[in-house]
Symmetry: C2
Subunit: 262 residues, 2 copies
Amino acid sequence: MKRIEKIVTIGSGNVATHLAIALKGAGKEILQIYSRTSENAKSLADKTGAEFTNDPMEVRDDADIYIIAVSDDALPVVAGNIDFKNNFVVHTSGSAPMDILKVSSENYGVFYPLQTFSKTRNVDFSEIPVCIEANTFVNGERLKNLAISLSGDVRFVDSEKRKVLHLAAVFASNFPNFMYSVAQMITEDNSLDFNILKPLILETAMKVQDMRPTAAQTGPAIRGDEKIMKMHIEMLEKYPEFQKLYEVLSEMIGRESGKTTG
Amino acid sequence: MKRIEKIVTIGSGNVATHLAIALKGAGKEILQIYSRTSENAKSLADKTGAEFTNDPMEVRDDADIYIIAVSDDALPVVAGNIDFKNNFVVHTSGSAPMDILKVSSENYGVFYPLQTFSKTRNVDFSEIPVCIEANTFVNGERLKNLAISLSGDVRFVDSEKRKVLHLAAVFASNFPNFMYSVAQMITEDNSLDFNILKPLILETAMKVQDMRPTAAQTGPAIRGDEKIMKMHIEMLEKYPEFQKLYEVLSEMIGRESGKTTG
């Protein structure tokens, strides 16, 4: 079973960038970065000692794996435009089924790092769970070896389960982050320093590393403190949509409390 | 100006517990714990070497400060039942005005630690921002000295601003925690391990320690990925209220994206 050493990455967004840099750091050779857009991809190629191309016909044919890290919309287009010559091809999407790559190669799979990536922020890949899937046992083992060179938490997850994880991740990450935005807006609109909330934000996330979220819930809604909730709703008068959001979420939290205690 | 060394705490909930233990750890003397309910308070009295009483007439009159850490509903009752003999009295509420203590003593203030407390979890008080307020300059300085013996972040915040911080804290902590509960429910209902989401939860909170939340936003809604959002909404069919929540939050995030780019 040939180890994966030579890699072509396709895409130059957040995931492609962090992944290519981490793979390089793990001693892998990034042969080439392919991307339709040039600027990001060139800078990523420089950082990883890779070639760059924006021509699908110029994608090299001597890599051990082709990692497609593009948006779900672009995925079928990219997969269809490049001739992978039956080399091993994987995508990094949370929601696209593995079989979307069936037309591209006889050897295919998925490498989904379950994390939120922003270009300006470094991540420690060893802490990132990686969900993998492959069309054959041998491809699965090759992909697993690649994944464990980066991460301490590698799991085989099929396409259906991966889709569910992606949905759960929206609630675990994207929605909480939006709540932080609202908190920032409320503080800044009142000439208050958002920084004062940062230890609270961090502790809230730290708590659920050890406790069940339902047990970690605090605040007026779980206490059933109607007076405070009424006051908060009045204070949100200037922001009708956040007012409605506050009401709806407080009701849901209140019902959760009812479920756990009664 | 007499330093605050001898303390009576009133209440035995999460805040009272963590605060009394932290004050003891900072070398202060906890004279007495008063609480209407006995069990928690007795255990807290044991931990801090304090006396315990559940009789408001038995509250000692020789403390430098009386810290009332009870629910907002109980606050006026407690404040009215105890004769503080014009000693220094503070409450720990995010939302109750300072003046609620005016009837209790000529010396009063607020000591509001901006954090989420759960009994089973230890906290490092030095990392917790403390918002203080007092009715006179001297009381303010005394309270400040007490607060900096615990925390590296002590700020004077008046009652109006503190109320706003409390509201923002609901969005910064209580609502994100509820989102974690939903994520846990989605994973567990599908026989998936919630633990796989924990690094994502933590990184999402870590990101906004350095980045603005609006800049840190990722996921289908900010990308405008209608196909994924539609699929997620279909997947939530079994949970109509979370389905609605997903739609509403995604719309809000989408509008936020419109605001930043257009």
